[in-house]
Amino acid sequence: MLNIGEKLFKWIIKLLTFLSILLLAFIVIFIFNESFVFFKEVPIWKFIMGRSWNPLGPAENLSIFPIILGTIYVSIVGICISLPLGVGIAVILSTYTKDRVKSFIRGIIDVLAGIPSVVYGFIGLLVVVKFFEVRFSFAAGESVLAGGIVLSVMVLPFIVSTCAESMDKIYEEYSQASQALGVSKSYMIRNIILPASKRSIIASLVLALGRGMGETMATMMVIGNAPIMPKLFGKTQTIPSLIALEMGMAEVGSLHYHGLFAAGFVLMIMLLLVNVLIYFIKAKMDI
């Protein structure tokens, strides 16, 4: 009797695990299925390389090259701002601080990670965008730069936690030896710890790129959403914001509807590649 219960439990666990693994396949298949209709009309390279997005025109007018560029551009601007800050904080966390201050800074970083993206977008719209409009008298403050600034705060926690983790280990490994040699702390960090944690810095960079490219609400509220070639101070559009904005208007089953799924499909494939990359970088780091 007891044995049956054991086996049953094991099977339930196996079944549920199988289901959770299947979820990803489900997502990929469903998105692909919905965008397949579109790719039959417009070949995929034309969709990716074309330069106009006009849902009302013929099928050839639906293409997302500027939008893909915008997605990547905003993330890269965000990372460029965030990386120096994040690595700096990680160094402070793992070398210069002890218990109290450490957990205080960690707490602050956790708080940043917990703020919802829509709140970031809200503050970005009211502070960053307005700042550009008032200070530099732009016609419209919504720009790639504004998106990058908002994103930089959002991806900071990921950069800090990924870098600090490996810097902790490296510091423990070398601190005694270098102290015994009388090397100053800052010299040691600059010449040993930073070079040694190159790989984790790259890992954090890729992770932040993935986060930034998939971010919807925060970027959507500050970039102006115009599907044109992105410029640093000009409006732009990202794939997530395109989907979030237009899905509600698109008639179910229309070409526009399937085109949006196709955009989602392209985004998903890009991010799956990024995450496979992260997985392998992490796997190598552990050895």
Partner: protein
């Protein structure tokens, strides 16, 4: 001399980065708090949105309840799947290959952007299965959104359980399931609940998965799983995006942040308790 300049520049960089981050956090909270505190009163918290366009007057009661319900459904759905997967990986799975395959899948799932999850929920749950824009569709989509987070945390806790306890329990002839439920899970309980509450906080703040699957501009407090709901993040987005009422938007943002703060504090308290009990 050069070394001294380098040293100086390096330290300036570190101090600046810490200073900037602390200032940003203080500013974020201060900004929301100072601007939002004025619009919060009893009426704002406990009444429905009113006026034309809707939301310009009245309160956000249905949105608060809607957000809490969405969070609840997401947590239930995703913790069942996530805890089972974690148990499987730690206790039942013998092959390293399958383990790393599951890890790869979970890494990929955590990378699927939330808006694509929204699309998936829209295509499968809302249209294909015919749930419509509803509490259930949104809850499940959010559940998928937080699944990787809970799974990774729970797996980590399960792995940290002292192996000797498990082997001695097996050596005494205690069955696997009994060991799991009476020994391992009680040890990890606080940790698991803390992971779930944290994930619940993420689910509550996420707007993009529910934009297509659950949230609407106005709905009363939902009566069944299949009725559409209001949610705080979506309400905030509508209030600012459509330029309806900035004052109410500040209030909504503050309420959302305060709810998340409460959830985080619960999770932190659980963590402290666990440390004391060990």
């Amino acid at each position: 001399m050069l070394e001294r300049i380098k040293d100086y520049l390096f330290k300036t960089w570190l101090i600046m980065s810490a200073l900037i981050v602390v200032l940003v956090v203080v500013f974020l909270f201060g900004y929301i708090f100072i601007n939002g505190i004025g619009s919060i009163d009893k009426e704002f918290l406990l009444s429905e949105p009113k006026g034309i366009p809707i939301g310009i007057e009245g309160g956000i009661f249905p949105a608060i309840i809607g957000s809490l319900l969405l969070m609840l459904i997401a947590c239930v759905f995703s913790s069942i799947l996530a805890i089972s997967t974690a148990i499987y990986v730690v206790f039942y799975c013998k092959s390293e290959r399958i383990k790393s395959f599951i890890h790869l899948i979970i890494q990929c799932m955590s990378g699927v952007p939330s808006i694509v999850l929204g699309l998936f929920g829209y295509a499968l749950l809302v249209l294909y299965l015919g749930f419509g824009r509803s509490l259930l569709s949104g809850g499940i989509t959010l559940g998928i959104f937080i699944f990787p987070f809970i799974q990774i945390r729970v797996e980590k806790t399960l792995k940290e359980v002292d192996k000797s306890i498990i082997t001695s329990s097996y050596a005494l002839g205690v069955s696997e399931v009994y060991t799991l439920f009476k020994i391992i899970l009680p040890i990890c309980r606080a940790d698991i609940i803390s992971a779930i509450t944290l994930a619940g906080g993420f689910a509550m703040g996420a707007a993009s998965p529910i934009i297509l699957t659950a949230a609407v501009m106005f709905a009363p407090v939902p009566e069944s799983l299949f009725s559409p709901v209001m949610a705080l993040p979506f309400h905030l987005y509508i209030l600012t995006g459509e330029g309806i009422s900035l004052e109410k938007a500040y209030g909504t943002a503050l309420v959302l942040m305060l709810l998340l703060l409460v959830i985080n504090i619960i999770s932190i308290i659980l963590n402290i308790k666990r440390k004391e009990s060990r």
